[in-house]
Symmetry: C2
Subunit: 878 residues, 2 copies
């Protein structure tokens, strides 16, 4: 078995397609080296196979050590240097590189190969003992922390003490001799903490570092990140061992992170951060404030030209916007890494359209659509602030667009606790690190006073579509408050507003405006619509004319779920209660007649907004007690003697309709059958509304949906009622569809039978999930969270459909229904109808349409297109 | 297509096996005629095919009329008489006869063929104008009521008036001339009510009567009866047209109902009721008090001998106890009907054993077991009264054994209402009729003052296993009270006690003793055990040592479900609350340690009672708030300022643990995972109990069951905890089974995966039914009742498993589990484990054991044997 591949290994297929094996970084290093022949420091990649074998067995798989030794030998031979050589030593970096990028999540060791001998060789070679000692002390510190698990503070304290004692202002000012003292002190720390001396043998250093990278795959923060990003735990990471080059050698050296275009806006200009005389980590960590990439035109004009030429070649080769890391080592440019660049939603849309329009790249519409993710759309649909004259506390880099409002928290743990308690929080830090991700995950927005556009905070925030302002230097951020330039003090818990699109930070709560959407948004969605046309339709869940209008604007092709219970609330509540409390059939009918009037008007508005498109109306679903006041409040009033006669009647009614488990109680069609005037009234109101619309020249298309069916006879009975109303209204020739929700496991299992009385099925995956798991959404939030945390569940099944369980029932229901009626129209109207992963799954089951909240419609349109592109297959829309 | 078969038609297989086609009555008439050559009045049967075709099309199927005409012609030819003949007319009866007996549920027309002409012929032939006129008036009345749907009251009023006017005391005293007036008055009623004259054409009379019988299949009372008896609605009825013979011709005539043995006790003596000069209906209707069958030895000695000889032939032929109807027409015996006789549970057991022991009948053990139904066992397990000196109100016939206590109700509607309101009722009537069945169905017992052992009340009560005392003549039963011989007045609502085993009726509530069980009970169950051995085991649900002991006495082969929640109630409640309210882990642990002690003792008792048999312990299942007081009570106290500090703490805890839908909330394994010391404590207590039992020389066999699993990882996690406890206890070599309940739809669908961590599955069909239907048992009782009433559901799915829905999930779970582990042990521990129909279904799925309440164990043992006999197949017990 081969575990190790040199960057210049000739793979039978393009290395950039070998990310499973080489990891993302390794694959791209190999692509740059073996295909593009770019200046990449030589090295080799230890494959993910090796990592998985190591993690499974808890030790090095057979043969790996020999392969590594052979590759090191080849590297030494090629470079003409040897690891640990006291004259001209080879130094290498050891970096993780998983299939999916996990920025900052895993470990890196630099300057490996330095020891008490080779540090002298480095000093001699560079004629810079200070540089050599600094490199060595950095290596020991990193090795101590990462491989030997010694807290960083131990080293930091020594370093700070020595720096102060030497009278140096910055790290760069510390003399070589003092650094030599630091080295000895570091080695003493290692001996003290581990009982063993710092290893002088570079081979041992290398093996330790490789193991540390393997092990970092399972570090808590890496696991947490993968959970958040839904990256499988069993992939493992590759390890890249690469010859070191030094951006921190002198002022003709430097390092930078460059995007071939602007990842925040999509603008076609190179973009990035750059530091002179620094190592790459310094740029990303945000410890030093960086220069813009364009500054290189002044400081390194030739190299800048070379870099831009490389950017061009990369874009043409990858046909995408790239993110690169590079280092200049004494006027020589080295490409250390490239990958397809992460981008904001707006940038994704603009880049997709631009690359279709750019003939040298010439993306197809299909490719362009695939360059945009549902999360990108979600981002551009994010709200922005309204115009405001709120006090500006400061301005930083607009690192991740969108607007966030919340209470300032200065510590990730406290932020997470506050968010758990239901508070909206903004995480405020000088800079963020992987240790802060749990606080970042729950924050509405992130604010830092240090670090640039590719700092940890910025990268993570953009990846998650969270607003972020970074490097707001005018803010003095402390442990539990910050002070602005004008001396305003903002304490923990104070409300602030963060505008990641402008970089401004405001005091207090600035009102949110609707998201601002780039022009390319509709272009891409039109392409998506063409791709999914005839394959998977997108409707909206909308209960009012206003919602329906918005849904239509967002591109909904109809309403898949018009709930009628909202029509029973508000000023109708007294009438609804009269119906419930009615002592005689006459009183009940009178109340129903009143409700009919208002329902008719509601329906007319919805039908007007959706004129010409289908509107699926679900007859009343919730249990009656939802329309009654809380028993607990009433009995407290009663106990205090404060309840009047109507109040006591209400209490009695509430008690009569009270249920132990309302979710499994008398609701849906069961209620319709007990209060059997109700559904007839609703159908009559709907038919009257349709008639009124037609009288006004409209084209109403109605579909009637019966909820909570468990048996064929139930549906058959109610279907007959509906047909009687249709006949009574004289519109029996209009082919009004009568269908049912499939939302109980029984209905799913008996789809074949139930289909006999149904013109369509709409899977109510919320209820189906509740009953399939036995999870009441209201009650199991805590346990769900714990289950996800403990890995007992991979995702919240209410967010993304549980394919193996609930999905299996949907499949059985769909199959059963279609076995009876091959052309049966199938929809999904649970919240999963707006979830991209779930949409892909539904597409695979042959569902005809999904229905989701109006705001999710664009996301569903894109997801449907992506599913269609992914799956191909014939036209399946009824 | 042949629709009509003469009784003497030579069928290719024994007619008694053709009940599907000929109905029960028709099949047995054909058997008696064509095979046994008994004296049966000739006639023919219109098949159930014809009825189904008629009901489906709403009219006579093609060819039926011609076939009927041809059979009538044959009958006329054979008898040498013609329908409607003015000289020597043929008269026929038209009777329903469905596949399953539905006594009194459907319609009968007698004396058909009489008209204004033939009545004279009948008078001349019998030389008895009074008899002829009486027959004619009876026919018109019956035809009016049954075929023309005219209320009986109209006729009754005229008749009563004429009788009084004539000065006659009884019907038999009314002179022929007065009866002639009655006839004219009856014809006038028909003309007035229907606008058409009473049909004089016998062919028209016959067609009308046949249609009426067809239609009576769908009468509300027939439908209600079928629902109660679980007879399918789509069978239809056959119609038997038979030459009339007259038991009411004179004193050398008579009619009776005879059983070949005693159906109440099983005693081997002929048994029945007999009336001289009467029609059969008079015996069954209970209008006249009957003579015992044995009285025939005096009044009709030769015919009695002939009858007993026929009884003997019938028993040898059918190899069972028979129920017959016969008529003597002027000293000639005619057999009108026979069928296998209904019997009480005690009789069924005794008859089964007696017929095995009787070499002339020589039943096999298998046949004997099949002669006993689960309902029979249920009956003998019915409670009896303890010895009492309660006041005896009167004594009647011990018509159906068992004891019932309740409030006296004198009207079926009011009895049904009271029962709906939760009251236990006794239905008290002079006599019952099919109009009373809804009141009989809900009654604890039935009491009548008129009618014999085969009266409507007696037959129905025995069929349903309900206690009944009939013909308690000393009671004067009125519309809303009765008076005893000594003048005691019992009003509606007063409590009485009815002993159907002794015939005594008591004032007030007599305490119940346990059921008295005949010796044959254990004989039959031993045969049943032999039949099911190695096929389907029977365990009990038992939570205490006492329950376990009882279960073992009833033949349980282990415990399939030992719930541990009961161990958390009573005097343990304060400790459980301390655990819930604990502020610190230490307090929680202390409470758990206390609980461990008491649980260990509980477990020891159970293990002792079940020594040597497996005991499946389910870890705690219900949500924690079940152990807290009601929130509503606490907030009322709080509102009144009556809550102390610990009370307020309890209120807060109750609020914290309160759930919207506890059934779908934090319970079962979810609770185990949140309060993760709980399950470990329970396992430890169980292991300690087993150890203590072993120290005492016992042989404890424990199985540990995890409730409410939805995913494999949940079970895997808890399984590891349990294994740790087992290892810590040092008993890891004892192969303690660790399994799970399959009670969520998701677990059923993912059985393959979950089986990887399970040594056994136990289907919790109660919860599975709740979640599959979305029916909370606590909440949907009303709707369930309505659904069954409306035919939306055939049976209560909590009583008999819903095979098509819930059963399908059980099937999927069983299949999935066995696909992973072919030998996986499968059990059922929901209440369906004690339901005979469900047991048959589970047997078909390859379930290894059912577990039910101790009292149901004998029924489950028998049901398992019946399922095995029904299905055959190989040994399947693990």
């Amino acid at each position: 078995m081969t575990f190790v591949y040199a960057f210049d290994h000739e793979h039978p297929k393009p290395p950039m397609e070998l990310k499973d094996l080489l990891g993302g970084k390794g694959a791209n290093l190999a692509e740059m080296t073996s295909v593009l022949k770019l200046p990449v420091p030589p090295g080799f990649t230890i494959s993910t196979d090796a990592c998985r074998a190591y993690l499974a067995d808890g030790g090095w798989p057979a043969g790996l050590r020999d392969e590594v030794d052979a590759q090191v030998a080849r590297l030494e031979e090629g470079m003409g240097k040897r690891l640990g050589d006291p004259v001209d030593p080879l130094l290498v970096s050891v970096r993780s590189g998983a299939k999916f990028s996990m920025p900052g999540m895993m470990d890196t060791v630099l300057n490996l190969g330095l020891n008490d001998d080779s540090v002298r060789g480095l000093a001699a070679q560079t004629n810079d003992p200070r540089f050599a000692n600094d490199s060595y002390r950095r290596f020991i510190q990193m090795y101590g922390k990462i491989v030997l698990d010694i807290p960083a503070e131990a080293f930091d304290a020594v370093f700070e003490e020595k720096r102060k004692a030497s009278g140096a202002d910055t790290d760069a000012d510390i003399p070589a001799a003092v650094l030599a003292e630091v080295i000895e002190a570091y080695k003493a720390i290692i001996l003290r903490e581990t009982g063993k001396a710092f290893p002088q043998d570079p081979a041992e250093q290398l093996r330790g570092s490789i193991e540390a990278v393997f092990n970092s795959w399972n570090s808590p923060r890496a696991r947490a990140y993968r959970r958040r990003e839904r990256i499988p735990d069993d992939l493992g990471t590759a390890v890249n061992v690469q010859t070191m080059v030094f951006g921190n050698r002198d002022d003709r050296s430097g390092t930078g992170v460059g995007f071939t275009r602007n990842p925040a806006t999509g603008e076609a200009v190179p973009y990035g951060d750059f530091l002179i005389n620094a190592q790459g980590e310094d740029v990303v960590a945000g410890i030093r404030n960086t220069l813009p990439l364009s500054e290189m035109a002044n400081s390194f004009p030739d190299i800048y030209k070379e870099l831009l030429a490389i950017f061009g070649r990369l874009e043409l080769h990858y046909r995408d916007m790239l993110d690169t890391e590079f280092t200049i080592d004494q006027d020589k440019l080295w490409m250390l890494q490239t990958r397809v660049g992460k981008r904001t939603g707006g940038a994704a849309l603009r880049l997709a359209v631009a690359m279709v329009n750019d003939p040298t790249i010439g993306l197809s519409h299909e490719e362009a659509v695939q360059r945009v993710s549902p999360e990108h759309l979600d981002q551009v649909l994010h709200p922005q602030f309204e115009k405001t004259d709120a006090k500006v506390l400061g301005t930083g880099l607009a690192a991740s667009p969108g607007a966030g409002v919340g209470a300032a928290y200065f510590d990730a743990d406290r932020a997470a606790d506050a968010a758990d308690a239901g508070e909206k929080v903004i995480l405020v830090r000088q800079e963020t690190s992987p240790e802060d991700v749990h606080g970042m995950a729950v924050a509405e927005a992130i604010l830092t006073s240090r670090g640039g556009l590719v700092s940890h905070a910025a990268v993570v925030a953009r990846g998650w579509g969270k607003p972020a302002v970074c490097g707001a230097e005018s803010l003095e951020i402390g442990a539990d408050s910050f002070t602005t330039a004008d001396g305003t003090l903002v304490r923990e818990g104070d409300m602030i507003s963060v505008d990641g699109s402008t970089g401004k930070v405001y005091l207090g709560e600035v009102p949110l405006a609707e998201g601002s959407v780039p022009d390319e948004f509709s272009t891409v969605l039109e392409w998506a619509d063409t791709i999914r046309a005839g394959k998977l339709a997108v409707r909206a869940n909308a209960d009012t004319g206003e919602d329906a209008k918005r849904a239509r604007e967002f591109g909904a092709e109809g309403i898949g779920l018009c709930r009628t219970e909202h029509m029973f609330l508000g000023d109708r509540l007294p009438v609804v209660r009269r119906m419930i409390l009615a002592d005689t059939p006459e009183e009940e009918e009178a109340a129903l007649a009143e409700l009919l009037e208002v329902q008719r008007l509601d329906f007319e508005e919805v039908l007007e907004a959706m004129d010409g498109l289908p509107v699926t109306v679900r007859l009343l679903d919730p249990p009656l007690h939802e329309f009654l006041p809380s028993i607990e409040e009433l009995i407290v009033l009663d106990a205090k003697g404060d309840l009047d006669v109507p109040g006591r009647a209400l209490l009695r009614a509430a008690q009569r309709w009270q249920e132990q488990n309302p979710m499994l109680g008398v609701r849906g069609v069961r209620l319709g059958i007990i209060k059997n005037g109700l559904y007839k009234m609703q159908v009559r109101a709907l038919l009257q509304a349709a008639k009124a619309r037609k009288a006004k020249g409209g084209t109403p298309i109605i579909e009637i949906m019966i909820p909570l069916i468990v048996t064929y006879p139930e549906l058959d009975l109610v279907r007959r009622w509906v047909e009687e109303e249709i006949a009574a209204a004289g519109v029996q020739d209009e082919h009004i569809l009568i269908g049912t929700m499939i939302e109980t496991p029984r209905a799913a299992v008996r789809g074949d039978e139930i289909a006999e009385a149904a013109d369509f099925f709409s899977f109510g995956t919320n209820d189906l999930t509740q009953m399939t798991f036995g999870f009441s959404r209201d009650d199991v939030a805590t346990i769900l969270e714990k289950y996800i945390e403990e890995g007992l569940l991979k995702v919240d099944p209410f967010e993304t459909i549980d394919q193996a369980g609930v999905g299996e029932l949907v499949r059985l229901g769909a199959e059963g229904g279609r076995s009876t009626k091959p052309g049966l129209k199938l929809g999904v109207c649970g919240e999963h109808g707006g979830d991209p992963t779930s949409i892909g799954f539904f597409y695979g089951l042959g569902i005809n349409y999904v229905s989701c909240s109006p705001y999710r419609v664009p996301i569903a349109r894109l997801s449907a297109a992506l599913a269609a592109l992914d799956a191909g297959g014939p036209d399946r829309t009824a």
